[in-house]
Symmetry: C2
Subunit: 331 residues, 2 copies
Amino acid sequence: MRKRATAKQVAEAAGVSKWTVIRAFTPGASITEESKRKVLEIAAALNYTPNLLARSLATNSTRQVAVFVDDFANPQKLPFLETLTEQLQAAGLVAMLININNHFDHVNALLHADQRQVDAIILFGTAFRDETLTDLQLGHGMPPMFVLARDSQIDGVPAVVCDAELALRDIVRHLYERGYRRPGFMSGAAALSTALRRRQHYLEFWAQHSIQNISLLSADRYSADAGAASVRAYLASTPAKERVDVLMCENDILALGAMDEIRGNFGLKIPEDIAIVGFDNYELGGSYGYGLTTYEQPREEMVRAVVSMIKGAVEPETVTLPGRLVVRSST
Amino acid sequence: MRKRATAKQVAEAAGVSKWTVIRAFTPGASITEESKRKVLEIAAALNYTPNLLARSLATNSTRQVAVFVDDFANPQKLPFLETLTEQLQAAGLVAMLININNHFDHVNALLHADQRQVDAIILFGTAFRDETLTDLQLGHGMPPMFVLARDSQIDGVPAVVCDAELALRDIVRHLYERGYRRPGFMSGAAALSTALRRRQHYLEFWAQHSIQNISLLSADRYSADAGAASVRAYLASTPAKERVDVLMCENDILALGAMDEIRGNFGLKIPEDIAIVGFDNYELGGSYGYGLTTYEQPREEMVRAVVSMIKGAVEPETVTLPGRLVVRSST
DNA sequence: TTGTAAGCGTTATCAA
DNA sequence: TTGATAACGCTTACAA
């Protein structure tokens, strides 16, 4: 059990009251330079620093934000976590990273975060069951919640997402202008609303060009291997004449796997035989070997939006932000 | 300001003292079934749950662990974070994710974690300046610290690492048995002890086979592009006859970039012209397109070791754990 | 089994 | 500017 100096001890050593000590550590408090200097000096000698835990109890604000994550397979999470922690910390907040993968009970995680008195909860791209939330929301008093990088269909829980409609419009326009006319779409495993929406808009915008006959592939996980397996099955069962001329994959990881398979195993050329589009702008996709055309989510802006709402600088409401089409050699 | 029911309120509503309420929520406390049932019932009605913040203050234990991360570019961090949060949570602990990249002051981060009264601090693969630590350690009273996935050269701060000597011995033995005799090594940017150690052991074990002439390449970042650029410069300036027959890269990301460049830009075959070895067993390296031979760190065991020490189940001391050579088609 | 008193280290508020 | 009182919601130790 390690010991720390408390304000009281510093006060005694400095010959002042403990409130004066507190003031010395409170920016802008009314205290004479003289007292402040003396207190800080003694505090340094005694190795005293304010106890944020006690402060949280007294102020009813922990300045901690729970961040729920359930899918650690998507490498895209990492830059998001970096940006998120960076902006939270810059705002004087700190992230509690809570894993809610299969091993954990979602309701319990929520309750636990609440008991820790976090100032807010961010559902970061999680497949949170909506019923779970509605149940608990009713039980009032929960910390404010936000959904990041995924749609929210829960009343009163705002989401910050990349504008899927705009994204798919840009993508399809690009593909159409490049001359592709036989599109395909590879879905990932999850029936997440965000995922479904990408496909839906893809179909919708092709339909506006009177192209309705779209090949639908599906991968059973979000991994390169699953992407490869999916495209392998497709190519193996589809005569060259009938194949798509462009395949959009729901995210970059699937796309990378598909590219490997198309070039390596089938000896086809990208984009001459089949063009490929991904989603997320995962770093490796931009490397020489791939040159994957993709769409980048406005990470900084999305995070900024959530953090602003948490800080209370902005009214909480669902925000949809435009991303950026990144054209490379795969289309 | 949201309101929560407190133990006192529940006590009044239930007609008992608040300590009885506490007992109802304390497993194994001495309380009659009758009182307990009643209290829990009223508590549920009032939406009461114990305030973990107040508990932490009273018990002097937050059950929070600060996890410092500075390099979010390495996708290997993600599975580690998943395992770490999983095991911490299973032990009743929760991770505070603290970003200490360039934007932040390391000393301050440490001080801040301390002020938050965390039970422990994990330096997860960070390039923490050792002087920083020694300074602060002296100021006693800091939470116990641990270094994960990197060597620690700081007195009293134990590390949990993958056994580099064993790893490189296995790798070099494998390469030697496969018949390779002209090895090369690509280093990443950082002068991290862990990184230097890999190269050192690589040289050492080749030397045991009387092979001393080892080509040293270096990449200026840990990214696929940097790996590609490094190998490009090498190949462009080295006649085919004089080239290495096997190139070990300090991690998988560098290796993947190198592979792309070797095959795509130079039209060489892997492993016939140049064999490649990586380190980390990053998922994409295992996909069909790469088939990268690599070495897998014993993630679960490493995390288990740290968590055991934090729980106090095991004496804190540096632990070196054996990993696993993963042989694929690139060698 | 249950209630009481004291304490954890702060902050808010008011009085001096 | 400074000091004092009460409060934050819980735990520990002890008494009833």
